[in-house]
């Protein structure tokens, strides 16, 4: 089982030729998803059980002949396994709760997933470590074409791709980037930077925690509008915005690392020491400790930990993943113990 999770997240933990390798300590990951519906099939809200089942059969058979990957029937897996797919960013939170027949196809590369019977018939999603919209977009459209050539999408010349909810009309495209912004958080600039993002039609949220309770200094920016915009323009806007934020984040880091070098080195190495030595650690604490270590790696202060390892710990230490990693159902307290054990092992920790 542990192998299967690591397999699911290898897009996030291994170097790839395609993705850009700079600024990876700030740009954690990027994601593109498109919503599509089959023209001749009732939409999700009006689907009967046999419609849902038939759609799964049809999409599955198209995908299995054209792509290398595995199909997961959501009705055949445990709640823990569902939770784990979500923690690996392969399915949406809404998909966990689906009661009607639903399934997800995950490619062998682990970075492309196709949810069948989410709010729309199809949610095709691509993920990448760092910023790599160009490659993910073409991978996502490749899948889009494969299914569309067999099943036919609901499309209107005026309104574009028709989705269940009017908020996705047009391109059905959601582009997002996950940013690590400890510099901006520390210099109190994060709020105004993010306000600027909202003004150009983006939405910003903490990926773990909301409002002032943001954990791990991780922020997700994504586009809000899908109609009246070309796919490429949405990507260009979010890319430019990302570069601007990186610029400000780097300046903020320079400031704090110049003015308070000792304090920050101390915080970074203490965080690493805790991760290498702790006997019990909860998810929230891990997020904050990893943020400090990530900052340290980015600044060249920590040299014996890679960003790929940090990425792996970020995902594997989540509550469901840590249980599947060890192959056992664990109470919260036991999870904290096992989580600490796993992290010590990954970081070459003390006393084992």
């Amino acid at each position: 089982m542990s192998n299967k999770i690591l397999e699911n997240i290898k897009w996030f933990t291994q170097n790839s030729k395609a993705s850009r390798e700079d600024d990876l300590e700030i740009i954690v990951s990027s994601r593109i998803r498109i919503a599509r519906n089959i023209d001749d099939v009732p939409f999700e809200i009006k689907m009967k059980k046999q419609d849902s089942q038939r759609l799964i059969t049809l999409v599955k058979s198209v995908l299995e002949t054209k792509l290398r990957g595995r199909f997961v029937d959501m009705q055949q897996i445990t709640p823990l396994e569902k939770e784990s797919l979500f923690e690996c960013h392969l399915i949406s939170p809404a998909f966990i709760k689906k009661e009607k027949p639903a399934g997800v196809f995950i490619t062998d590369t682990g970075n492309i997933s196709i949810m069948i019977n989410e709010e729309d018939h199809l949610r095709i999603q691509g993920l990448s470590r760092g910023l790599d919209f160009i490659n993910i977009l073409s991978e996502v459209f490749n899948v889009e074409e494969i299914i569309g050539a067999d099943l036919g999408y609901a499309f209107d010349e005026t309104y574009g791709f028709i989705t269940s909810c009017p908020t996705n009309f047009g391109t059905g495209l959601r582009v997002s980037v996950l940013l690590h912004l400890p510099g901006l958080v520390f210099t109190n600039e994060v709020e105004k930077v993010l306000k600027g993002a909202i003004q150009i039609g983006m939405t910003v949220r903490g990926i773990y925690g909301e409002g002032s309770g943001i954990k791990g200094n991780l922020f997700q920016i994504s586009n809000q509008h899908t109609l009246g915009l070309k796919e490429e323009d949405v990507i260009e806007t979010i890319t430019k915005l990302t570069h601007m934020i990186i610029d400000i984040e780097k300046k903020a880091r320079d400031v704090i690392l110049t003015k308070a070098r000792n304090e920050f080195e101390d915080k970074i190495f203490r965080s690493l020491a805790v991760l290498r030595s702790a006997r019990m650690v909860n998810t929230e604490e891990v997020l904050n400790l990893l943020s400090a270590v990530r900052l340290g790696v980015g600044a060249g202060i920590v040299r014996d930990v890679t960003l790929n390892t940090i990425n792996e710990i970020l995902i594997i230490s989540r509550p469901a993943n840590i249980q599947l990693y060890f192959g056992e159902i664990l109470e919260e307290r036991d999870r904290d113990v096992k989580r600490a054990e796993y992290i010590r092992k990954r970081l070459g920790g003390n006393g084992d």
Binding site: D40, G148, G152, Y159, E189
Partner: protein
């Protein structure tokens, strides 16, 4: 990067103004953005706008019915989700305004169906016809549909 306006403070806010025929991008500091009145209005998200608009009822909501899925406009306003691909045109005058308010646009300019995907719509209709023909044991009819499907290059018909 310095603020485009005062060229003194660092730019922390990125604006995109879409004017007819051109898009202007501005990098401003917070105080210049305030001066231009760009930071004042709290923007509503598309979902918030949708939820607000769905509350506005009108006289013929119960009588406006989609022939594709029998959803009424009243039902759409309750659930906020379409029942089929024909709902849009069935409720068009209402939806047009809805889309304008949510997206500030009512015209798709992005990717369209590729030639292969256009064919896909026909292929799927034929598949459905084939399924019905087989269920009704209309084998001659089924054979004709299979021929049509083969013309589209589809061989794996059930």
């Amino acid at each position: 990067m310095l603020c485009d306006e005062c060229k003194k403070n660092p730019a922390t806010i990125f604006f995109k103004e879409v004017l007819p025929g051109k898009t202007v991008e501005l990098h401003l500091c917070e105080s210049c953005a305030h001066k231009r009145g760009l930071m004042t209005a709290k923007k509503m998200s598309p979902i918030e706008i949708l939820q607000k608009l769905l509350k506005e009822k009108s006289a013929h909501d119960e009588q406006t019915i989609c022939p594709g899925c029998y959803m009424t406009l009243a039902e759409f306003k309750r659930v906020g989700r379409f029942g089929c691909s024909k709902c849009v045109r069935s409720f068009e005058s209402y939806i047009k305004n809805l889309l304008k308010q949510i997206h500030q646009s009512d015209k798709h300019i992005g990717r369209t169906l590729s030639p292969g995907e256009k064919k896909g719509i026909e292929v799927f209709k034929l598949r459905e016809e084939l399924k019905k023909a087989l269920e009704n044991e209309a084998y001659e009819e089924a054979a004709k549909i299979r021929d049509k499907l083969r013309k589209f290059g589809i061989d794996n018909v059930e």
